[in-house]
């Protein structure tokens, strides 16, 4: 019924201008550099590890925490470059997103690495030069229209659920504290005033002091950095590993699927904290890095299962069939067609898990793993405070900090799940 809207099919010219090719190559180089950075992070440890000077735990820590994510990320950046070189117009915007994430990652790791980020900025700027822009901008804008409409509807739904707004505000508050605590905290994270131990909350120490004279308020604030960082790294690494394995399992099926799924079965046979406990005690050394590793090992199967399930659904969709029929490679289909469609549930799960990881990490700390005594870390503060539990402020404030933070992540995760759920998203 009615006239069909004419779909304008834009045929990409055979000969793309040099500039587009250049941007592609440039982006690929950024990817290669990122992979190099990953390797370099591990390099200084290889010798000592072989010589037996450092233990498996620290080595694995660097490998899993820094090297693997960086190399995988580099691979992704490289692949975007390749797609741009081949003039797949709809992949141009990915340069922007990926480079922004890359920039953040470099700043996160710190050192002299942020200088490398200049390359990312150049890549983004190059994207907006007129000859390159003409290739993707129109498509991008057309693509953006319906997305913006959905986004506006989502924002409307968020406004209608005040709990999500509360959660977002709390999270932003925590992030703000973590970023700026060095500017305004009254005391340093390990500063002790030996003459003022176990003081009740007062104007000088608004949340009191602990048995060693540490200012509880300052310590709780400083701990924001450590705890948020653990939660973020654990979830992001678990997410990368889990997504990778889950996608492979779901897409290729057969033996790969069987192996990955049986492994996740075994991991799901343990309650998270107990397995993490066993891993940390096997790793021997007690520090925050080992907690992080243990939690990643515990958490990746969640994502593997989630992504596998989604991939299984998406794999059968017609658009995948269409992509396959025009000769797209498996890797390409998986990366550009299937995975973007699994993002929503993964994001929701990750948000909820940020709270879960935070709680489990604090629990591990409380049992006696984790940071060395005296570190400003919430779980540890409660653990040391339990011997003096009649001085409630030692335990109360760090606990409230954990509770609020986990609550905020849960509020947001919960709300966002309802908002994104197509079943509940009736207008």
């Amino acid at each position: 019924m009615g006239e069909l809207t004419q779909i304008e099919v834009e045929i990409v010219e055979e000969k793309a201008p040099q500039m587009v090719r250049f941007v592609g190559i440039f982006q690929s180089i950024i990817g290669l550099v990122a992979m190099g950075v990953g390797v370099l992070l591990l390099a200084p440890l290889v010798g000592p590890f072989i010589a037996g000077e450092i233990n498996f735990g620290s080595f694995a820590g660097i490998l899993i925490l820094n090297t693997m994510p960086m190399i995988l990320f580099g691979l992704w950046l490289f692949n975007i470059g390749r797609s741009v070189y081949k003039v797949f117009a709809h992949e141009f915007p990915w340069i922007i997103y990926a480079n922004i994430i890359y920039f953040g990652l470099l700043v996160w790791i710190g050192g002299s690495l942020p200088y490398l980020a200049i390359g990312s900025l150049v890549a983004i700027l190059l994207l907006f030069t007129p000859s390159v822009r003409s290739y993707w901008w129109k498509l991008f804008k057309e693509d953006l229209g319906p997305r913006m409409k959905e986004l506006r509807y989502s924002l409307y739904l968020i406004r209608r659920s005040p709990l999500v707004v509360v959660g977002v505000v709390i999270i932003l508050g925590y992030v703000f504290i973590a970023l700026t605590v060095n500017l305004w905290a009254p005391y340093g994270p390990t500063e002790r005033i030996w003459t003022e131990t176990l003081q009740a909350p007062s104007p000088t120490h608004i949340w009191g002091t602990d048995q060693n004279g540490g200012d509880i308020f300052s310590m709780v604030m400083w701990a924001t950095r450590i705890d948020l960082r653990i939660a973020l790294t654990v979830v992001s690494v678990a997410l990368i590993i889990g997504t990778f394995l889950g996608a492979a399992a779901g897409y290729f099926g057969g033996a790969v699927d069987e192996v990955v799924m049986r492994i996740t079965d075994v991991f799901f046979a343990f309650p998270g904290l107990i397995l993490a406990m066993a891993i940390v005690s096997a790793l021997g050394e007690r520090n925050l890095d080992n907690i992080a590793i243990a939690l990643m090992v515990v958490w990746w199967p969640t994502y593997a299962r989630l992504v596998r399930g989604q991939v299984l659904i998406e794999r059968e969709r017609l658009y995948v069939e269409a992509a396959r029929s025009v000769g797209a490679s498996d890797f390409r289909i998986l990366l550009t067609h299937i995975l973007p469609n699994t993002v929503q549930p993964v994001i929701v799960q990750a948000t909820l898990d940020l709270g879960g990881v935070l709680l489990t990490a604090a629990g591990l700390s409380f049992i006696g793993f984790g940071a060395e005594a005296g570190t400003a870390e919430w779980g540890l503060m409660i653990a040391t405070g339990q011997d003096h539990f009649t001085f409630y402020w030692l335990v109360f404030y760090p606990g409230i900090a954990i509770l609020l933070c986990a609550l905020a992540f849960n509020l947001v995760g919960d709300g966002v799940r309802d908002i994104l759920d197509p079943k509940l998203r009736r207008r």
């Binding site: 019924m1 009615g2 509807y153 409307y156 009736r426 207008r427």
Partner: protein, 407 residues
């Protein structure tokens, strides 16, 4: 649901209002308006639907997807889910009680309790998708028995069942030591038959289950005893649909609404179900409302047709009349769009344009943007309902067919 329960209180008082109905008419829908309050705006799904159903008729609602057929059915049953609200209108229903007394009432003004007495009992509905409508965790027989024991007293049946069972034991073993006792019991029960005592829950359940099996037999289900003990997912689509029909017929309703009841079935099963419905209508002395977009179904089974467009009944007539002399341009468009087996055409005919957005429906006649006969008045005023021929009602300024140009 919420909204309806809330508005119960104010409606309750106006119970005494006397509704009138022409004889024979069993359901009269007058100016029914239902809206859905959504993010994008108020969807006026029904905008003054008026239609009559007479006793023994089979009435069809036809129209394109989204024209409000199902909403009409759900509004009659007061089953519109939030965010939908029934805003105005009357649904006057002639209720025959057991003692043949007639009660005429507006369903929209009944209390929730009174309405529950109507639902499933006086007016029953069969829904579109047999895959999702039966409750997956209950046995088919139990689901049917549930309606029966809810709406029927079953006292007499329970008593008869007891007597039968005792007589059976007696017949099997006449020399039993307690034979005298049993005989006494039987005569005691028989004396109660005129005024049976309320049955125990257990007896009621058993009788209801037995009746459920009977109902399954009635809808031509093979081996009904076995089916009654199976779960819905063990049945095929056609069988499930028949089970749903059995469920809705089990209280001998005066009106059976079939909301696209045959759409999800394949053609042969569809024919079986339709024949079944027609036979059952005669057996049970009920009236049927069929909601469909399949004009073939209409021609085969219905006595009357109401054509809906964008929340309005634009034309109402008997089936023969409507098919031979469509008056509303939309109806004739619909009929022309049916491909004919005997002709070969390059391109099937269609009605130009799309069903309008009901948040901002066209002014005046809702069909005018797509109508080839539209004039300026069509966009300014809503056409009044007019009886162009006896029993043939149309809402149109420019009626076509045999009455063309009368205005």
């Amino acid at each position: 649901m919420m909204t309806m329960t809330e508005s119960d209180n104010e409606i309750h008082d106006s119970q005494d209002e006397i509704h009138t109905l022409e004889p024979d008419v069993i359901l009269d829908v007058r100016g029914l308006k239902t809206s859905f309050y959504t993010y994008e705006g108020v969807v006026k799904a029904l905008d003054g639907v008026s239609v009559q159903l007479k006793k023994g008729q089979t009435l069809a609602f036809v129209g394109e997807t989204g024209c409000g057929k199902s909403v009409t059915a759900k509004s009659i049953m007061r089953l519109v889910d939030s965010p939908g609200v029934i805003e105005a209108g009357e649904v006057v229903f002639r209720d025959r009680t057991l003692d043949k007394e007639e009660v005429i009432s507006d369903l929209l003004k009944l209390s929730e309790d009174e309405m529950r007495h109507i639902r499933g009992n006086r007016i029953a509905i069969v829904f579109q998708d047999p895959a999702t409508y039966p409750n997956p965790v209950f046995r088919v027989g139990d689901q049917i028995a549930e309606v029966i024991s809810l709406h029927q007293n079953l006292a007499e049946e329970a008593l008869v069942m007891k007597i039968d069972r005792l007589e059976e034991t007696l017949a099997e073993n006449p020399q039993a030591p307690n034979a005298e006792e049993i005989k006494e019991k039987i005569s005691e029960y028989k004396s109660q038959l005129d005024d049976p005592p309320p049955p125990t829950d257990d007896d009621k359940k058993k009788v209801a289950k037995k009746k459920a099996v009977e109902m399954l037999k009635m809808v031509r289900m093979p081996s009904p005893e076995e089916i009654a003990n199976q779960y819905p997912h063990e049945l095929s689509g056609g069988m499930r649909q028949r089970a749903l029909i059995a469920m809705s017929l089990s209280c001998n309703p005066q009106i059976l609404i079939c909301d696209e009841a045959t759409t999800a079935l394949d053609v042969t099963v569809q024919a079986q179900v339709l024949n079944l419905l027609n036979e059952l209508k005669a057996d049970f002395d009920s009236s049927i409302i069929i909601i469909t977009h399949d004009l073939g179904v209409v021609a085969e089974t219905c006595t009357h047709v109401a054509v809906m467009y964008a929340g309005v009944v634009v034309e109402y007539a008997s089936t023969d009349e409507l098919f031979s002399d469509p008056v509303h341009p939309y109806t004739s468009g619909l009929l022309r769009a049916i491909p004919k087996l005997t002709e070969k055409v390059d391109r099937l005919l269609q009605i130009k344009g799309m069903v309008p957005n009901l948040i901002t429906p066209p002014t005046g006649c809702r069909f005018h943007p797509r109508c080839e006969f539209a004039t300026s008045i069509c966009s300014e005023q809503r056409p009044p309902r007019e009886e162009v021929k006896p029993g043939h009602l149309v809402e149109c300024f420019h009626p076509q067919g045999s009455v063309k140009g009368r205005r």
